[in-house]
Symmetry: C2
DNA sequence: TGTCTTGTAATAATGATTATTACACGTTAT
DNA sequence: ATAACGTGTAATAATCATTATTACAAGACA
């Protein structure tokens, strides 16, 4: 299983806003065109990104803008905004281990910490990369 | 999205074998009882674990055994055996970004390396933990 | 040979993700 | 104020991966 594409879509959205907001009015239709998905998918993600303070939305012709400087938006911020990270964790547990078996009763506790560490390690990498980095790279490639 | 529970199930299986193989004949029915899933699910995973050399299976009453010492089986070995890790990576990409948009055309390339690094960082943690560690912890808790 | 167990195909059930339509409502410009 | 444009969101369907389950063939061992 994988981390849903809505994460890369969300990153794409934010990067697009950073890339284009000075030159164009960025709308959900515009973003849908760049990402290649339905407008409603874009809007749903936009709402989540707005709730996280990553972007600012206003209705009408204004277009979407970043909620703060792209240097201050990490990939983890985006990840957290659109994925349900906290609730269940990256690793999915089988739901009914046998409490009468010493292994079944304790695996989760005995293994849990290690898996949390693995998850945090991945998230740390996402925290160290910003949208500004990505946009810079995009500008570089486009030259 | 999460990493499928078949990973924790597989770890549970291997830990069970390590924990019980000296005292009992460990079978798919036994394991299904401890894990709390259908026998066929266990068998399917057993087959994959066997292909990875993690366990050794024989039909009849013998029961399942480890393919090598539990100190030499990392969580990553198990992870790799039952998840399709290499093919597509941990992060799922949206499939049709617009090649006519400078962002759509290049996000994947510009972001790819960072995501791979995040994935590898997680896997590194899984590599540093062994089934032996887990079984030791299980014995400790059971005392 | 009989009993136990694995191997595996076939199928269904479940659940999450993603796509799409439809329409109410906010915002801006004229 | 009203038309034009854009977001917010409910409702529904399509798709896909995961997980469950039945059924039976075939290997291993006493």
């Amino acid at each position: 299983m994988q981390i849903a594409s809505r994460f890369t879509i969300a990153v794409h959205i934010v990067a697009c806003i950073d890339y284009f907001q000075k030159s164009t009015s960025v709308t959900s239709a515009f973003l849908a065109g760049s990402v290649g998905v339905n407008r409603v998918v874009i809007r749903t993600l936009m709402t989540k990104l707005k709730e996280a303070g990553i972007i600012a939305i206003s209705r009408g012709k204004t277009g979407v803008r970043l909620g703060r400087r792209s240097e201050e938006i990490s990939l983890y911020d985006v990840y957290k905004a659109v994925e349900s990270v906290d609730e269940s964790g990256l690793f999915n547990w089988h739901s009914s281990p046998n409490p009468l078996c010493p292994v079944g009763k304790n695996v989760r506790r005995a293994l849990g910490e290690t898996l949390v560490k693995a998850q945090l390690s991945m998230e740390k990498e996402l925290k160290s990369a910003t949208i500004a980095d990505l946009t810079a790279e995009l500008h570089k490639v486009a030259d």
